[in-house]
Symmetry: C2
Subunit: 156 residues, 2 copies
């Protein structure tokens, strides 16, 4: 093959040096696109997506999340939580428990079946995350996790 102006490899490098590629917002969006595609694939055999997995995870945790809590923490509209919990509840993975302290709220708690499925799902997302981070050392992964959590969990 003769020189054709630009090979595929050098073009990729060109894009990596673009101004946009230096912007954090772009890098985060790109990482999220690749990451959620990969995670969705890993979760598919379990009948979960990133969204429903996130709800299930919090329902398994000891945080006793109300649906409002879920909406806030997952950056979703409260109306989006409804069908997510509906689906998990229909499948017997979580239950809505009216909060005794505030009967407006419903706390979403995992059933035993939900806990078991979560254990499997967590393995899948861990593998998926490891795949995404092969180019980083263990120390670098810890560093990235620390920096990201400080930014992502900052109280607005």
């Amino acid at each position: 093959m003769a020189a054709k102006g630009s090979t595929k490899a050098s073009k990729a490098e060109l894009f990596m040096r673009s101004n946009l590629a230096q912007e954090l917002e772009f890098l985060v969006a790109r990482m999220r696109a690749a990451g959620s595609a990969r995670a969705n694939k890993a979760l598919e055999p379990l009948g979960l997506k990133v969204r429903s997995y996130s709800v299930l995870s919090l329902a398994c945790d000891d945080v006793s999340p109300t649906q409002r809590d879920l909406a806030d923490f997952l950056s979703l509209d409260p109306s989006q939580i409804v069908p997510l919990v509906d689906d998990l509840e229909k499948r017997g993975l979580v239950t809505r428990i009216p909060d005794p302290a505030d009967r407006r709220s419903k706390v979403v708690i995992a059933t035993d079946a939900g806990q078991r499925l979560y254990t499997e799902a967590r393995k899948a997302t861990a593998r998926s995350e490891a795949e995404a981070l092969t180019m980083l050392s263990e120390a670098e992964r810890a560093q990235l996790r620390d920096l990201l959590s400080r930014v992502a969990l900052a109280t607005p």
Copy 2:
């Protein structure tokens, strides 16, 4: 006010310690949600969104992106690029130039007006990014940028 079991502050801390909050995928999704909301607001006065800004940025750069390049680099379907470029082109900010080397492709290049708007828009996104990173030192921001770019720009 009497102790009510859990204050709002301690509940937030509880969520921050949840298993989900340790997952990179989740942190990235959350950071992206907050970041793109903020950036969209910052770009609104200029008639841009994160998407159209990204296209404009690459059209201003010296990478001569085809629409396919834009789709790949921005993690979008090629059919999503069409209306984005349509809009920018209607506003006289970019032009579609048929690639002489491959007449199937169209290279998207910014006009002078596009370059000028981009200069303003870049200031807005820079401010937006700075707002999001107030809790990090300059060294930590550089570190985060480095780690993120190594992950987000890795050749799949």
